[in-house]
């Protein structure tokens, strides 16, 4: 049965459809580049040094901080460098990476704990196991899974997100068709960990093969598999919950507040690998697609392999290409294919470079209103963002914008609307930060003024006290002198009297 849906959104059929979703096992790369922090958060600290031999799945960087995620070697070989390297990130900044050169043997580290009988295990120990395996949300956000699961105890519904993030991406489809047994087991592990009463696996209704393969392996009546409409932004967490459960997560709220936890389907497969097989997260499925390749495909590839490693397998044409990581709507443009595949790299778009059409004036047609899944007024937000009136933009719920780019996509004047919103958001936070700084500066200034005033008063009081003391002293001295002189006088008088006598 097809689930309900949220308002707005757009139906975009896969622009580069393939006849059958094959999953290619990419060859072992010659070297891998593994960033110490893919999300620009707390860095892991390397526990190997240049020249060390490492095995596949071996821990190579870690941090005691609960928010950080351990890093594992994804091939066996030697560490050849630990230095700053470019990674596919919005900021375009370089980050510290460990580079390993392959010895071609792919020897796995031994002695990993497996938990085939997970139902007997304590959920907390399983969460720790998942943490040690370096698992993060693989749909794109990369939020550490152990943190999410740690908050999820006592939730009632587990949603497993099997919808592709965006049109054109096929990696989850390939995963579901190739690993249905592992996914169902993974969902059972998660059900055990978070104690939920039921799990729903959401699959888009244009993927009957994936749906049927999951159905074939599902014997658990707590787990149901449901179709959701193949509409862009159906896969966004809050929209998916709205569609499946008709619960609207309040603005600023979290799914878990409503007793719901949402997990990407690739993450669930990694949880299976970690718990049942005892394997750390060392590979993922990546889609390579776009009009610049003649064979759009899915590859299971070791993390840290370069984009080029799998792009070259998809028969790219000899033109100038624009490369985009993630989807065509929300992905990020990168300059080269010489970048490492990370835990959140779900798709690489290789497109022929085209001349961009210059945007025209907004004719206020309101098509953007119709497609906004968050039901905002993109047009008003555009005016306020353009004029840098961030207060007004925030009043029009700028901060609720999920930057899905549906509005930019449908704009007849080809205005890159979503760019204006990201800019306005950044500006808003900058203004808040500046406001905070001025507040601090003002407080400091006021305190300084107060301190100076207080010093002045204190000094005056001190002077006053001193003066008084001197005066008293002088008065005392005077009386002393008087006494002395009186005594002298008395003595003199006595002397005189004596002489006279």
């Amino acid at each position: 049965m097809l689930s309900g849906t949220h308002k707005g959104g757009i139906f975009i059929p896969n622009p580069y459809p393939v006849k059958s979703i094959r999953l290619y096992q990419a060859a072992l790369p010659d070297k891998v580049v593994l960033p110490l922090n893919e999300r620009m958060t707390e860095k892991a600290i390397p526990c190997v040094s240049v020249g060390d031999r490492v095995l596949t799945g071996q821990l190579i960087a870690d941090n005691e901080d609960i928010n950080s995620v351990p890093i594992h070697a994804t091939i066996s070989g030697h560490v050849i460098s630990i230095d700053e390297q470019p990674i596919p990130h919005k900021s375009g900044l370089n980050t510290q990476c460990i580079t390993i050169e392959s010895d071609g043997k792919d020897e796995w580290v031994e002695g990993n704990i497996t938990n085939k009988d997970f139902l007997q295990s304590d959920p907390n120990s399983l969460i720790e196991l998942i943490h040690r395996a370096g698992i993060v949300g693989m749909g794109g956000a990369g939020f550490p899974t152990h943190l999410k699961l740690g908050l999820a105890q006592n939730c009632n519904t587990l949603i497993v997100n099997g919808t592709e993030c965006e049109p054109g991406i096929m990696c989850d489809d390939a995963l579901m068709q190739n690993y249905p047994r592992e996914i169902i087991r993974g969902v059972e592990i998660m059900l055990h960990i978070c104690g939920a009463e039921r799990a729903i696996i959401a699959v888009e209704n244009d993927k009957p093969e994936a749906f049927n393969s999951l159905l074939l392996y599902n014997y658990n009546d707590k787990i149901s598999i449901e179709y959701v409409p193949t509409k862009f932004t159906s896969g966004s967490e809050k929209m998916l919950i709205k569609g499946l459960l008709n619960i609207e997560i309040p603005s600023g709220g979290f799914a878990i507040d409503e007793g719901v936890i949402c997990q990407n389907i690739a993450t669930v497969k990694s949880i299976f690998d970690a718990v049942i097989e005892g394997k750390a997260l060392v590979s993922r499925i990546v889609t390579v697609t776009g009009d610049g390749v003649s064979m759009p495909s899915n590859y299971e590839v070791r993390l840290g392999s370069s984009f080029e490693h799998i792009v070259s397998k998809s028969k790219p044409n000899n033109g100038n290409h624009s490369i985009r990581m993630g989807g065509m709507m929300m992905g990020i443009d990168v300059e080269t294919t010489d970048l490492p595949i990370g835990k959140i790299s779900n798709c690489i778009f290789v497109n022929n470079k085209v001349q961009k059409e210059a945007p025209k004036e907004c004719i206020r047609c309101g098509t953007c209103n119709q497609v906004c899944p968050v039901e905002l007024l993109p047009q008003q937000l555009y005016w306020y963002s353009k004029s840098e009136n961030t207060d007004k933009a925030v009043e029009y719920n700028l901060l609720d914008c999920i930057e899905c780019a549906c509005c930019s996509y449908v704009c007849p004047s080809h205005i890159p609307l979503v760019n204006y919103y990201s800019f306005a958001k950044a500006l808003h936070f900058k203004k808040i930060e500046e406001q905070r700084k001025t507040d601090i500066a003002r407080e400091r200034f006021e305190y300084r003024e107060y301190r100076l005033e207080r010093n002045k008063i204190e000094r005056a009081e001190m002077m006053e006290a001193k003066k008084k003391a001197i005066k008293e002293k002088m008065a005392k001295e005077k009386s002393q002198k008087d006494k002395i002189s009186a005594a002298i006088e008395r003595v003199n008088k006595n002397k005189k009297n004596n002489i006279d006598a």
Binding site: H6, K7, I10, I12, K238, K242, E248, I249, P250, S251, G252, G253, M328, M329, E357, A358, K360, E361, C362, I363, R364, C365, G366, N369, Q370, P373, V374, E375, L376, L377, Q379, Q380, Y396, N397, D400, A405, S408, Y409, V410, C411, P412, S413, H414
Partner: protein, 314 residues
Amino acid sequence: MHSNTLNTNQIMRQVIYSLVLGVGASFYFFGWGVLMQIVLGVVTALAAESAFLRLRNMPISPAISDGSAVLTAILLAVSIPSIAPWWVIVVGVSFAIIFGKQIYGGLGNNPFNPAMLGYAFLLISYPLQMTTWASDFLSFGVSIDTVFNLSSVDTLTGATKLDEVKTQISLGSKLIDIDLNSASQTLINIGFLVGGLYLLIRRIIFWQIPVAFISGVFLTATFLYLIDDKVYLSPHLHLMLGATMLGAFFIATDPVSSSTTPNGRLIYGFLIGLLVVIIRVFGGYPDGVAFAVLLMNIAVPLIDSYTKPRAFGK
């Protein structure tokens, strides 16, 4: 990454194409003058737009090619009598383009519907030329003669049905004594209605404004008709006379100057419809579409700020 749906230029072109039936009906009843007004209007619009863009040091060709000036000119040209002297349309279109659009910064920035601003300007300045209509199909030669003032064709002119009704009623007649049949007006309105439905199906305009506009006209007219059917026209005549359908589908739906929120569009459309009937019945002019639209253009910012939709999760 953009959708394959229509871009701004294509939208303008589609609107122009969908005017064909209405314009065709006008041509059938009024003759060649209709097309002459359109040609004069379009030429003037392009000239005025280019001249003003040059003054503003702006690139000319992108603005000219977007089709918006042409659309404004055509809407104004079909609103005025086909036998109006040539300078009427020239003055009106120039005013519409310069004072209705360019002075605010060009396409997308004008608060008022430029065509209706031009129309109101003409109606106030040249009431006689603006209310004298051809009463029959005029041949090419005769049309040339009248439009360019070469000879007078008094015998072939008359007032519109709405104008006639207004005058007769004010003289104390009852509706029953007036011939209310007007095949020409009805057919022209149907022409614009069909064109408008095409725009709705293509999703170039949203349903809210036309539906609310027509409901506004219908309900207000019905209300008056129920009070006194001897003096007030029946709702179906209000819908089929004058510029009702042109207004509902082509004028009030101008995206730039109309309300942008879904509920705002309903309010905006309904109030225009209401004002159209009020102005027709109680106002000083025979038709009220232009003034109703302009009045509601003023109210758009207010309507929009009160009809903000609730955001997801708010």
